[in-house]
């Protein structure tokens, strides 16, 4: 192929058609139909960068997919692979470079997680479940505005759960947003034994309570084989948390299912807040990852190639 510098000075019959592309890909030397191909390629690249949904094949689609839910890109599973993640937070950078081995290291230092890809990286088996979609209205000067609100719970049935809620004009956008928020709120769940310490932990380690609004939920350890004795909604949450057996009690206004679910979530989260005798040993404090990897973090990130 021709070299950039050289190209400029050459007398070329197709010099007028060089354009921007001509400098890089030697397009001007190609037959005309190939030029179109390269042009299309450049447009495709732009499309990818702007994240407007990948390969439009020329038609940027006022088709029914259109703007709606950025459907074009999402719907096309396969061709348009997930764009590689470029982290923007320090934690993200550490995770991307495998300096951190597991979620638990993040939890020990209570580092806030702001990028959902971090959670995806450590917990690829997270399953999400939409609990409810409801329309909510808001009174504005221009009349009422109705939107959809999605409530999502996510978990891997092995010690991690998260809750997310998001409001949006379209159902799909609301669900997607809620899933991302749920991933950001993932919390570890401590499980224990009821009687004998055999096999895997199956129930909560002790009686724990969670409160939200006026709804109070109490989780009580149960023997193996009890199953989860709870109302359907918190039951789903407990199943996704990986708790196999548990008694629950609900007090206060269980009318507000939203607060009820949040109270259960708080209760599950409290399993790791409770200091049991086996945790009495003195902790050896370690350096926070930010401290440990300062040198790595000080290096500027590789610029993302456009």
């Amino acid at each position: 192929m021709t070299i950039i510098g050289k190209h400029r000075n050459e007398q070329d019959s197709t010099a007028s058609t060089k354009g921007y592309l001509g400098q890089f890909t030697g397009v001007a030397n190609q037959p005309h139909y190939m030029k179109d191909f390269f042009n299309a390629g450049f447009r495709l690249l732009c499309a990818g960068v702007l994240r407007r949904g990948g390969f439009g094949r020329g038609d940027r689609g006022r088709g029914r997919g259109g703007d709606r839910g950025r459907g074009r890109g999402r719907g096309r599973g396969g061709k348009d692979e997930k764009e590689t993640w470029v982290p923007v937070t320090k934690l993200g950078r550490l995770v991307k470079d495998s300096k951190i081995q597991s979620m638990e290291q993040i939890y020990i230092f209570s580092l806030p997680i702001k990028e959902y890809q971090i959670v995806d990286h450590f917990l690829p088996t997270l399953k999400d479940e939409v609990m409810k979609i409801m329309p909510v209205q808001k009174q504005t000067r221009a009349g009422q505005r109705t939107r959809f609100k999605a409530f999502v719970v996510i978990g891997d049935s092995n010690g991690h759960v998260g809750l997310g809620v998001k409001c949006s004009k379209e159902v799909a956008t609301a669900i997607r947003g809620a899933i991302i928020l749920a991933k950001l709120s993932v919390i570890p769940v401590r499980r224990g034994y009821w009687g004998s310490i055999l096999n895997e932990p199956h129930t909560v380690p002790c009686k724990v309570t969670g409160k939200c609004g006026s709804a109070v939920t109490r989780l009580v350890p149960a023997p193996r084989g009890t199953g989860i004795v709870a109302a359907p909604v918190p039951k789903k949450l407990l199943q996704l948390a990986g708790v196999t057996d548990c008694y629950t009690q609900a007090f206060g206004s269980t009318r507000t299912l939203g607060n009820f679910v949040k109270a259960t979530f708080a209760a599950i989260g409290n399993t790791y807040s409770y200091l049991t005798p086996d945790l009495w040993a003195e902790t050896k404090f370690a350096m926070s990852p930010y401290q440990q990897f300062t040198d790595f973090l000080a290096k500027p990130q590789e610029k993302r190639r456009v």
Partner: protein
């Protein structure tokens, strides 16, 4: 395709399109609905409601004459609040129904296999159509009645009509060639018939997805709206079965009260009297359920007599226990603490699945928390958003 909603009307055939409907309403019934196209998806319900109103009250009360000479009555949502509230109500109902349908679809129907519209494969989901043929009708979460939708599109294709430009062709091969060349692997955006399959069209009357596309997008408004307290639904019936008979109650509380009154079995009272802790209460409840199932009174252990057992009727058998409790007052006589069943671990496993009766007691039990004040803060995850609720919000 709609029938005239008035029962006194002579027209028996259905009206096939909106213009003929409007004309018919104007001529035959002297009514003009303003902005009726807003309600197209909900037309039938809307018109039926108005028809009933008009037949009940008479047209003069309900409509407004534009001017004295005009024969027609006008029903206008901008003017009549009744109309506006009616439209809002109907639309909200429909929206909730649609969401329920969508939920069902999401859980069950999405897994069904379906033959691809364009080639002969049977694909599990629409990924195939998107991937292979670049056919996009939108994200599955935005659609409703998907099977109907796909059926409709399939019918169009077998009718040799292109999905996008709607021109008819002579044979399937020609049609396929046309679609491939022109890349018409999408559906016509303007076709109103497809509106009913997209949930966004049900959001507000009169606005379909085109309005929303141009709407200013205020996603930063959402921070306030992400509160869980909006989910104001009651827990679905905690179908609680009485411990002694086959009666079901809507809440565990009412079941408890019923047992206290009818059978003399006071759960709370017994707990306090005997000083039962959590696990003992569970044991007691499960034990009573088990005994009832076997036809034995839990207190005096008398079996249901043979004659009653032989009867086929469940009710007859159940009634025996109720009668027995009433006569002997066994409901109040909980077996003493020395009895064997208290230590039997099988009664810690619930006899009935998701027994709501096991979920309501024990509120006064102190939360075994250390005295430190720090622990209490961790416990409550109060809904911060609800503290400064936007007063404009109507949910």
């Amino acid at each position: 395709m709609i029938h005239c909603p008035f029962s006194t009307c002579d027209l028996t055939e259905p009206l096939t399109n909106s213009t003929s409907l409007v004309i018919h309403l104007k001529d035959a019934h002297k009514i003009v609905f303003k902005n009726i196209h807003h309600m197209f998806i909900l037309l039938e319900r809307y018109l039926n409601h108005w028809a009933k109103e008009i037949e009940a009250k008479g047209l003069e009360k309900v409509g407004i004459k534009e001017n004295e000479d005009d024969e027609h009555y006008i029903i206008d949502p901008a003017v009549s609040t009744a109309d506006r509230t009616l439209r809002d109500e109907i639309q909200r109902e429909k929206l909730n129904e649609i969401l329920k349908v969508q939920e069902k679809e999401r859980n069950e129907d999405a897994k069904q296999k379906r033959k691809c519209l364009f080639c002969k494969n049977i694909c599990e989901n629409r990924q195939h159509m998107f991937g292979e043929h670049n056919f996009n009708i939108g994200l599955p979460d935005n659609l409703v009645n998907v099977n109907e939708f796909l059926d409709m599109l399939e019918a169009k294709l077998t009718g040799l009509q292109c999905l996008y430009c709607e021109k008819t062709f002579t044979s399937p091969a020609v049609l396929r060639k046309h679609m491939r060349k022109k890349k018409h692997f999408k559906i016509s955006a303007r076709n109103r018939l497809y509106d009913q399959f997209y949930v966004i069209n049900y959001l507000e009357p009169g606005k379909n997805w085109e309005n929303f596309e141009h709407d200013r997008y205020d996603s930063d408004d959402d921070r306030r709206d992400d509160s869980w307290a909006d989910w104001d639904e009651a827990l679905e019936e905690e179908n609680t079965k009485c411990l002694f008979e086959d009666a079901f109650f809507n809440t565990a509380q009412s079941a408890r009260d019923h047992m206290k009154e009818t059978h003399g079995f006071d759960l709370e009272g017994e707990r306090h009297r005997l000083g039962l802790d959590f696990y003992q209460t569970i044991t007691l409840i499960n034990y009573v359920r088990r005994q009832t199932m076997l036809g034995v009174c839990f207190s005096c252990l008398t079996r249901r007599p043979q004659t009653v057992d032989n009867m086929e009727e469940e009710e007859e058998r159940g009634e025996w226990l109720v009668k027995h409790l009433r006569e002997s007052g066994c409901g109040a006589k909980v077996p003493s603490m020395e009895t064997d069943f208290w230590k039997d671990p099988q009664f810690l496993l619930p006899i009935l699945e998701n027994d709501p009766l096991l979920m309501i007691f024990g509120e006064e039990e102190s939360d075994d928390e250390p005295e430190g004040g720090i622990a209490f803060e961790k416990l409550s995850l109060s809904d911060h958003e609800s503290d400064d609720e936007d007063e404009d919000e109507i949910i």
